[in-house]
Amino acid sequence: MEHFLSALGDILLPLNFALLFAGSALGLLVGVLPGLSSPMALALLIPIAFGMEPISAFMILIGVYVGTKTGGAFSAILMRTPGTPAAAATAMEGYPMAQRGEAGRALGLAIGASFIGGTLSWLVALPLIGVIGTFAVRISSADLALIGILALAAVASLSGNDLLKGLIAAALGLVFSTVGVDELSGVPRLTLDSYHLLGGVPFLAAIIGLFAVATVLIDISEATSSQAQPAQNNRFSVLEIIRDLWIMRKVLGVGTVIGSILGIVPGVGSDTAGWLSFAYVKRQVELGRIAGDRKIGEGVPQGVAAPEAANNAVTGGATIPMLTLGIPGDGSTAIMLGALMLFGLQPGPLFFRESPDLAYGILIALGIANLTTLLAAFMFIRPFVAILKIDRAMLLGTVLVLALVGSFASSNTTYGITIAVAFGILGYFMHRFGYSIPALALGLILGPVIESNFRRALLITRGDYWVFLTSPISLICILIIVFIGAKFCFDTWRRGRNQKNRLA
């Protein structure tokens, strides 16, 4: 306990706190720019971090990590092009809000929700540190496969009226996810005899293509000429935002829970958390359980708050197993693990015992980074909203270049740009023909989770399918899937019957 307090004291020292703040600001900027991502930024910072004391280095790294989660919302709301994959869901309602002149409010909600999601999940995780890691590793391959399938069910909600088309899009995403060397058998699949695809479809480049490039293509086809943006109601008050967030507390809670749980699940992470939370909000609006007269797509504030809370809530679940067991939860924490090794440290079960100051320092920084991000972000709102005054065509053009060069930087290969362009064009046509891009993205993300784990589960039991019914998590997932399926059938039947009654 005294280590915890002493580390807390260290963090609040001016130097460390300033570094954390600087990291958060940097993370925000990285998050804003489509094409730059958290793992990329962290990898670039390692040489710099190397020259510092470990604790100071990690102030910056953790600050950047948490900052990017919020930064993505800025470009999602202002330009409908999410700066990070995790913020893609925020754009769905955030951008319409900006179009109604509520950009400042949307940003404030996003920032506030991010803070709440991140801090709450951190506070809840703190007393459970010892247990979280142990729990995380007990999730078996069978469990993971079922969790993935369950997450895929969110596609149904995201497709709206066009369930069939949504399923097609998700299936296409699943097909794309199988490209590359098959993890379970070592043979290359669907690689078109090109070595470029041996590692699979470059994920970040594909997301940049689907959400940034496609959005630009769609937007320029609709504008008739270079035009100014809608006037912004720049007067938003912090008190109003706090009040709004309080009104949305249930939705925020759900988002935080979704994010916290998904943070522990390897391979799923913040991208999925955002979409699942959004799917939840969408369903709530359709069921009329959310006050207000706006429909989905018209700027429902909850649609901004929930995904943002969720994608920040992921950070705890991804970082804590790294600290307690040496098992990273996502790409960014994997790089932080590498950084720890560069400092000559051994992350693992003894980390807290052997390097308590650093271990507790990182843990506390994770929580306080939410605060520093909040502060830094609020400073950025005015200048960023001012960006909206720039000629729309120029904004779109700049975003397009950013996206393309960013997709190069994501892997340092020209192939990254090719993928971004290809998926951008695909996304354009999908939008034109009414196929859900988020559904494709979910398929792309969840495909490996579902397939690898399903096959691995069967490999371990040598073909015994009972494994899917023997673990509590698996059983719960199956029950939920069955329940959702039954409810869906029931709803459809009842809707059909109502229609018939009305026609009769």
């Binding site: 995380a136 993890e183 290969t413």
Partner: protein, 320 residues
């Protein structure tokens, strides 16, 4: 006459100068920053190794050494990039044994090891077999006994299928004529996670992954694929050779240059990296996180890599 003498003297002076600067010019390499391409995941073992090696490069040369991460194509993209770059010694590749095992499992790769010349091999680690205390195995013999009792039932996790770690498991199977269920995961971390979560009976990650868990008593060491030196491990290291397995399987990390790089540049590179590889900073750092610092330059490196490649190739043939 004066003009003639002046020309003669000028010519002589210039020739002398040229002669004097020629060796200096060769000595001046590098004149710009050297780029080392890492074709594999940032933050991984190769990344840590090369960053650790080059962290004090300013003590050896004036120009900076930049580590460039070029991912994609399961590593092929980065490897090809170096293979196709100018052979002037400014673009190098760092890679570990995967350079050799990848072609064993994938046909028609657009590169081969013949496209490169080794500058030097600078560290060595091994694969090590770990299990859980709850299994009650304290040595490889216990493991083998359990495997014989239930053929095909014991699950052993490996980081990936075309890796030296996978081949290490094959070596164990071959030596004792046992059959285990090899389960691939997507990397060392998920493999350790699966072991710690008791989802598999044993795991063969690349040392020192899992070292902390072993020291904490969460994992038990059974055997290592080569003579590794782990300062931070309290127990005794038993290698394949000690345990009666006739395969010495080391996971080495090396630096390569494109094959047409001139010999004098290769010599110079070998000097530069040799100095770093034998420096106190690197050796202390390497031992600190659990790898064995070694240095085998140029021809010695090529021979070493070739021997390793042949031994791994023999094992690869045993994979169905």
């Amino acid at each position: 006459m004066a003009y003639f003498i002046r020309t003669l003297v000028t010519g002589a002076v210039f020739s002398a100068l040229a002669a004097a600067t020629a060796p200096v010019m060769a000595q001046e390499f590098p004149t710009k920053s050297i780029r080392i391409v890492n074709a594999f995941a940032p933050g991984g073992a190769t990344d840590t190794a090369i960053r650790g090696l080059t962290q004090n490069s300013d003590q050896v040369i004036d120009q900076p050494i930049v580590i460039e991460s070029v991912t994609g194509g399961a590593g092929v993209t980065g490897i090809l990039k170096v293979a196709r770059s100018d052979p002037d010694g400014y673009t190098l590749l760092v890679a570990d044994t995967v350079m050799v095992t990848l072609p064993l499992f994938q046909d028609s790769l657009p590169f081969s090891i013949a496209d490169f010349k080794a500058v030097g091999v600078f560290n060595l680690r091994g694969a090590w077999l770990l299990s859980r205390p709850s299994k009650g195995w304290t040595s490889l013999a216990d493991f083998v006994e359990a495997a014989k009792a239930e053929p095909g039932a014991l699950t052993v996790g490996v980081p990936s299928l075309s890796s030296p770690q996978h081949l290490a498991v094959i070596a164990v199977e071959d030596a004792f004529d046992i059959d285990v269920n090899i389960v691939p995961y997507g990397g060392g971390a998920p493999t350790m996670a699966a072991l710690l979560g008791d989802q598999i009976d044993a795991a063969m990650p690349g040392a020192p992954a899992g070292l902390d868990s072993v020291n904490a008593g969460e994992a038990v060491f059974l055997v290592a694929s080569t003579e590794i030196e782990l300062d931070k491990y309290d127990g005794e290291i038993i290698s394949f050779m000690d345990a009666g397995i006739n395969h010495d399987l080391g996971i080495w990390t090396a630096i390569w240059a494109p094959k047409d790089t001139p010999d004098d540049v290769m010599e110079r590179l070998s000097d530069i990296f040799g100095t770093m590889a034998q420096s106190n900073e690197w050796t202390t750092f390497a031992r600190g996180y659990g790898v064995t610092p070694i240095w085998k330059p140029l021809d010695e490196a090529s021979a070493y890599i070739k021997a390793s490649s042949e031994s791994l190739s023999d094992l690869a043939k045993l994979v169905e």
